[in-house]
């Protein structure tokens, strides 16, 4: 699967101006963060990365960069398997 740009995807999902989200963006401080966008984030990750993420993984990620690192680890692990 081609590697999508995680921060661009976040901009789109949370309706931010392009280039707003960075690795240092604190997820829960994104203005449109809500239980619905939380679900949207799980859907987006499933669609773009093929990973059905447990909500705990997102809850334990402070920044966009933390979450992206975990996704990369999961992708590497699934490729190795």
């Amino acid at each position: 699967m081609a590697q999508p740009d995680f921060c661009e995807l976040l901009d789109e999902l949370f309706e931010l101006d392009p280039g707003t989200a960075t690795g240092a963006t604190v997820l829960k401080e994104i203005p449109s963060w809500s239980s619905l966008t939380f679900v949207g984030l799980i859907a987006m990750i499933d669609e773009e990365y093929g990973i059905a993420l447990s909500p705990g993984v997102i809850m334990s990620s402070e920044t966009a960069g933390d979450l992206e690192r975990k996704l990369q680890e999961m992708l590497t692990a699934s490729e190795a398997a």
């Binding site: 239980s35 619905l36 679900v39 859907a43 499933d46 669609e47 059905a52 909500p55």
Partner: protein
């Protein structure tokens, strides 16, 4: 997954009913003092939903559907040998509501009756059980096994009106499905599974034996994200439900198709439990189902718990005269966690228009939903 294959059973008919009271997104905006609910309603695909007033039971909705169905089927009531009732909102803690339905519907005393307690997966489990009853009873006799499957919930009676995770989403409905022996019927295949570790993500914690009702369990207090509910109300962690559905539903649908030896392209309709619009749209894309073959019936009803699949079928295909031949995949999934898929070929079914249950006239209680404008 547990695979169940049933031969010589046809679905002869199906009817669904909803109560005559509605709540809308306008009510939510007022209740929560927040315009956000318009956007939420749009996202989840529910801007109005059907609500059973207090005192109206899921059995009442199911009886209304069953009466209409039996009239249109013109079945002799004595020919029905079992009535199964799937619900989480029975009339009494005991006895089983199915026993009361035997007499309310005027069925013979030579009739088996039992309740099945399941939620969002309940229709598929009920169908699997009812179909096996027919198969076991028929003995090769075309006038042999006839079974009535009633599936319904007044799930909003478990919903706190001040819990924003559940209040805008759920609605009430009942249904009746008629099954009978037919040597011409295509096999029905079921694929069923369970993961009880999901218990705490979608639950009504108090009111059973594990946590009996007390004065304290009935008190609504502020919980996570400011949602207000009691331990006798339903709690739902939407993100956990979504994550569970993503992990299990595509697998379940693929397993059902494989066991039936069908491809997704030859299926005429995929009818999932109507959980919410966001989830259904995502699952449709994920499974690569064409939009016209994927049934969405949330608007005007809400998430109707175990009755959502038959309600969606009525919404989509009800008409006068026998129905066309259709290969359907049904997919129930939710609290438990519990899930079940079915591959069923339906033909010449009796499918009456949606029945609107009329709430008997009585004094207006406080905080009742508004009666539908005629």
């Amino acid at each position: 997954m547990a695979i169940v294959r049933v031969e010589n059973v046809r679905m002869a008919g199906l009817a669904s009913s909803v109560p005559d009271f509605v709540r809308t997104v306008d009510d939510d905006v007022e209740r929560f003092q927040s315009e956000d609910f318009r956007k939420i309603g749009e996202s989840i695909g529910v801007t109005s939903r059907r609500i059973a007033p207090e005192g109206v039971c899921s059995s009442d909705l199911c009886v209304a559907a069953a009466e209409r169905l039996l009239d249109e089927l013109d079945w002799d009531r004595d020919s029905i040998q079992a009535v199964l009732f799937v619900t989480q909102t029975p009339d009494y803690p005991a006895p089983a509501t199915a026993c009361t339905l035997q007499s309310r519907l005027g069925l013979s005393t030579n009739c088996a009756a039992m309740d099945i307690n399941l939620g969002c997966s309940g229709y598929v489990y009920g169908l699997a059980t009812a179909a096996q009853f027919v198969q076991g009873m028929a003995g090769g006799n075309e006038n042999g096994g006839r079974v009535l499957l009633l599936v319904g919930d007044t799930i909003t009676h478990f919903v706190s009106p001040d819990d924003r995770a559940t209040a805008p989403l759920f609605g009430d409905a009942g249904s009746a499905t008629a099954l009978e022996f037919s040597s011409a019927a295509e096999p029905i295949v079921f694929s069923l599974g369970t993961d009880g570790r999901g218990l705490n993500h979608l639950i009504v914690p108090a009111g059973g034996a594990r946590q009996p009702r007390t004065d304290a369990t009935g008190i609504r207090t502020s919980r996570e994200s400011g949602n207000i509910r009691s331990d006798e109300d339903m709690y739902m962690n939407g993100a956990e439900v979504f994550s569970f559905a993503l992990q299990e539903v595509p697998k379940m649908v693929r397993s059902t198709l494989a066991e039936a030896d069908w491809t997704i392209d030859e299926v005429d309709g995929v009818v999932m439990h109507q959980s919410n619009g966001i989830m259904l749209k995502h699952l449709r894309k994920r499974l690569k189902v064409d939009e016209e073959n994927f049934v969405i019936a949330l608007e005007g009803y809400g998430n109707a718990s175990c009755a959502s699949i038959p309600l969606a079928m009525t919404h989509q295909w009800a008409r006068s005269g026998p129905s066309e031949k259709r290969k359907l995949v049904l997919a129930g999934f939710g609290l438990g966690w519990s899930w079940g898929g079915a591959a069923i070929t339906c033909e010449k079914m009796v499918m009456p228009e949606l029945v609107i249950y009329e709430t008997p006239q009585r004094e207006e209680a406080v905080d009742q939903p508004s009666k539908e404008a005629a």
